[in-house]
Amino acid sequence: MLPLNATIVQINEESPAVRTFFFDFQFETMKPGQFVMVWVRGVDEVPMGLSSKNSITVQKVGEATSKLFELKEGDSFGLRGPFGNGFSLPSEGEKTLVIAGGVGAAPLAPYAEAARSVGSEVHTVLGARSAGDLLFEKRFAEAGEVYISTDDGSKGTKGFVTDVLNSLNLSVYDRIAVCGPEIMISSVFRLLKERQVLEKSEFSLQRYFKCGIGVCGACCIDKSGLRVCRDGPVFSGVQLLDSELGKYARDASGRRVKI
């Protein structure tokens, strides 16, 4: 598949460093948690979770994302996808816990909405550095109850999402979906394991993608050899037992780098 030409129809400023780009067509078959490869022409092509059928939500971190931030409504970029496996949806009546940190809220907002629409009771633990960095608070609130944590205490519990989780009875949930920075998800992983609810959990992982379609092997994780781009990016907690999660990742050359 060659990249589709996506024209930007609307840009929302979500926080100082995060913007949502709406484009002019819908990925109708998209499952929350799936990603697209976003081609910023002449610069790079990078993976981004879909924050809705027709949007990506981007944190400015480096060259490609900075260039994206220069684009205006009417400008365009290339898009390939949707790729990978999304979070599995609950059944009617099941209780779902969503745990989102930082820009990890991007694929989880549509997940919370989808879970709600099939009749699941949805609770969200939403974490960010400070109140102004919280993403999609309104979308999560419309899907169910929201518990907030901020590092600086400017809203909700002061501390990390794990501090909120410590006060929750996790055994009541049928499904737990997690996405966020690796430091965060690996501490959530440890906590869920301790509380013996890992088999109900799913985690979305980030690794360096080259091909993005499961051929090159750049994104493979230890010890399973699973491809994050194709076999993931969403993995069950059980699949990640004894894995490199939280320990190291590989850079663009394939060298291991400590998390």
């Binding site: 081609w39 022409r41 092509e45 090159c216 230890d222 699973l226 491809r227 060298r255």
Partner: protein, 301 residues
């Protein structure tokens, strides 16, 4: 059991270089879950390389275009991955290596030797990495010198992987044989490119790259066919093999075994599927040995 340059393979399918070969664990997975008879690593060079910017691979209707740009962590960092593959894959592990000169090839081979690869595959054929790959692989003198340099310091078999982007591939094949190669591998990708007509930008980050998959199979079959006639050493066929029928065709052209690359896109266990298909074909046709197939097309005149 298939024997190839002294290596014992339980089936005649090998994972091609640069496909799922960046980590030891992934190579093990291709062997166990995928059913490959042997695996070749990503091409490893003397210094870490991040490769070309993305997009580095796109799927076309007829095949795939890629310009990865030989990303690799360099041999000191790859060493532990090779050790993992050797320890846990249960199949022969072939180290693919590249360099810009005979001395660099030697350095990388020497660096990886203590991890005990079962063979080396010399990449003198990547079409889109400046100063490496096909840049050295279209020059018969250099190919001979590189092959001889590596042969000189290793006791395991040395395979040389050839580029089809030359006017006469047998000339390069002969050079490899003259340098002491134990086998040649044909083919690496064909030069190609794609352009996004909405913007006019070439799609690959490197602008152009290499074509693989279904589209290149007829080219690969012809190269294998010609090399089989020209050389004494075995030819390993690669390029567009995605089914047992493709593998049989490649063998009838003269391939002793086949490598499979892009077809892992369809399914990881393509290796088991191909080897089971070959077995069934041999039985149905009443062949007692796969050797009866190899080069068969040459006798049909």
């Amino acid at each position: 059991m298939y024997t190839l340059t002294g290596l014992k393979l339980k089936n005649p399918t090998i994972l091609a270089a640069g496909i799922l070969g960046t980590t030891g664990a992934s190579l093990c997975r291709v062997a166990h879950e995928g059913g490959a008879g042997a695996v070749v690593t990503k091409s490893i060079g003397p210094i870490p390389k991040t490769g070309h910017p993305n997009p580095s691979m796109v799927k076309l209707d007829c095949g795939f275009l890629n310009a990865m740009g030989l990303p690799n962590p360099s041999y000191p960092s790859f060493f532990q991955e090779l050790e993992i593959a050797k320890k846990d894959s249960g199949v022969p592990v072939i180290a693919s290596i590249f360099g810009g000169s005979p001395a660099e090839f030697k350095e990388v081979a020497k660096g990886l030797l203590p991890a005990k690869p079962d063979a080396f595959e010399l990449n003198v054929s990547c079409p889109h990495a400046e100063g490496y790959g096909a840049a050295v692989g279209s020059n018969p003198c250099l190919v001979e010198a590189i092959t001889a340099a590596v042969k000189d310091i290793v006791s395991v078999p040395v395979w040389v992987k050839l580029t089809p982007n030359v006017s006469d591939i047998t000339c390069i094949g002969n050079a490899a044989e003259a340098g002491g190669a134990d086998a040649v591998v044909a083919i690496n990708t064909l030069k190609g490119m794609a352009i996004d007509i909405e913007s006019g930008y070439p799609v690959l980050g490197n602008r152009s790259g290499g074509l693989s998959g279904k589209a290149v199979k007829p080219v690969a079959v012809k190269c294998v066919y010609d090399l089989y006639t020209a050389l004494e050493i075995p030819v390993i066929g690669v390029g567009g093999v995605s089914s047992w029928q493709d593998a049989i065709e490649m063998m009838m052209a003269g391939a002793a075994v086949v490598q499979v690359g892009s077809a892992v896109y369809d399914r990881l266990d393509v290796f088991s599927e191909i080897s089971t298909g070959i077995e069934a074909f041999l039985q149905r046709k009443g062949y007692s040995d796969v050797k009866e197939l190899i080069g068969l097309a040459h006798e049909m005149v």
